[in-house]
Assembly symmetry: C2
Homo-oligomer: 291 residues x 2
């Protein structure tokens, strides 16, 4: 008796369709098909029969579903018990982040608070992090958009505004703020497409009906700062990310609030795990949290 196979059967039986089950449990449909077939040939039984262009349970399949329900319930009970029993004296927490910047102080505090928990931080682009999260390779993720999926829950980690910044040698170095439209004449230094900063910025630019002809695209936050410091043009960045750099001067952008949000996200079904819950609690009590 192989549990992967039984789980596959269970999912298909409960959803009444391979396709829907595959979506629901986030496993490819051919895999489910394989597993169910393996179950059937191993025991020499028939669990589903074709119906229309879908499938339906055989009598035996229906009996099996009853039993598998009860088994899954048992499993859930065990899982719940163990999760509730965890004392946070030991364990591990793996965080995935596309931009590790804002999460680090939180993790450092968390780690001090729960010294027995091994904390790991995994970086990657947003898509990688998303997959890692769905497939359990990370416990929580830090991302710039809230969860798309029904399967995810999130809380705001940080709220920031996009600002412009220039070199202290720049003619604008004396300004404290500009209009979005003022940027049109300048060369802009921005992050690559599909970075959170860039996405938000372009969205605002678009809704303001503006276009910029002279944009320089640079692949990392640090490199953007260096380029601006070297006088290449006006940088765009989240205010929290600018840091203290003597060579740079920040400039607010009036009128449009270019808000950029960062979320901490986890799978809904794992939200209640002791370690994950502890992290969210840490966040709720976070003095440095700007909302």
């Amino acid at each position: 008796m192989n549990y992967s196979r039984l789980r596959a059967f269970h999912a298909v039986a409960q959803h009444g369709s391979y396709t829907r089950a595959a979506q629901a449990v986030n496993i490819s449909q051919p895999t489910l098909s394989d597993h169910v077939k393996a179950l059937e040939t191993d025991y020499g039984v028939k669990l589903f029969k074709p119906k229309g262009r879908g499938v339906e349970l055989t009598a035996l399949g229906a009996r099996l579903l009853e039993k598998s329900r009860s088994l899954m319930a048992q499993e859930a009970a065990i899982d719940r018990m163990l999760r509730e029993a965890g004392d946070l004296a030991t364990g591990h927490l793996t965080v995935g982040a596309d931009a590790p910047h804002n999460i680090i102080p939180l993790l450092s505090a968390f780690s001090r608070h729960y010294p027995g928990i091994e904390v790991a931080l995994k970086t990657g682009n947003t898509a990688q992090i998303q997959r890692d999260l769905l497939e359990g390779r990370v416990d929580v993720a830090v991302r710039s958009e809230a969860g798309y999926s029904e399967r995810l829950v999130s809380e705001v980690l940080q709220r920031a505004d996009l600002i412009a910044f220039v070199s202290v040698d720049d003619p604008w170095a004396r300004k404290n703020s500009v209009e979005l439209s003022d940027l049109v004449g300048r060369r802009l230094i921005v992050r690559e497409r599909d970075s959170a900063t860039r996405t938000v910025f372009e969205q605002f630019v678009y809704s303001a009906g503006l276009t910029f002809s002279d944009m320089m695209e640079i692949g990392s936050r640090e490199a953007v700062k260096e380029a601006v410091a070297a006088g290449f043009g006006v940088g765009i960045i989240a205010d929290t990310e600018l840091g203290q750099d003597e060579r740079l001067k920040s400039i607010a952008i009036r009128g449009s609030e270019m808000e950029i949000l960062e979320y901490i996200v986890c799978l809904r079904e794992r939200r209640s795990e002791k370690v994950i819950n502890a992290l969210f609690e840490q966040l709720d009590n976070w003095p440095g949290r700007v909302i």
Copy 2:
């Protein structure tokens, strides 16, 4: 929740020791240790505590054992249901044999009787077959000795006697029987050591206090026959294996009944599986069976 890990915990908890559990479930002890540790660190809990030079359950471990017992019972119930539901209209049966000779007619009849069952025959030496059987790569095995292990059950497939045989041109070709001691002066053609035939033969020779100086060892049944047909000497073989060969004459060996048994063996816990049971029933009703 990972079932391998839970099973590992269950085994260790029930047997009260990693070592004993490892023997009982036929999994190496480090593997069990790994799995239990993974369970513990994943949930941040402690399930066993050291005691003397063994381990004992923690309070949480004891609670988990209760639940895991119930889950294992559920599993067994599902397994039983599916096994009993099998209708032998489809499925598969893999047989391992060191000497495929005697099993083939049985399998052929079985296959005719249950055309939906895919029958496969896997050959190999006795040790390989033994491992395949214990690790589930074959459903049943055909072997010359009954199961050593408590975990195996067996039935006699065939009972045969060792006989001598010579070329029809041999001076002995007119004899119908000889004494074991008569063989001393002749060159004997035998199978390799650790073949069933050889093992039984040597055992009888030893207990009769005889020694043979002129033995020719040949690596296959067919090659032995060819060598004897070519006049190299006197062959030793199971009577059922001689077949019809115009060039050969069989000669009984008087006095000592050199009996050689072949068993069909399976894991005790799988004896009741529909397909396996059907094979044993086929054997019980086997007209060609010589006992």
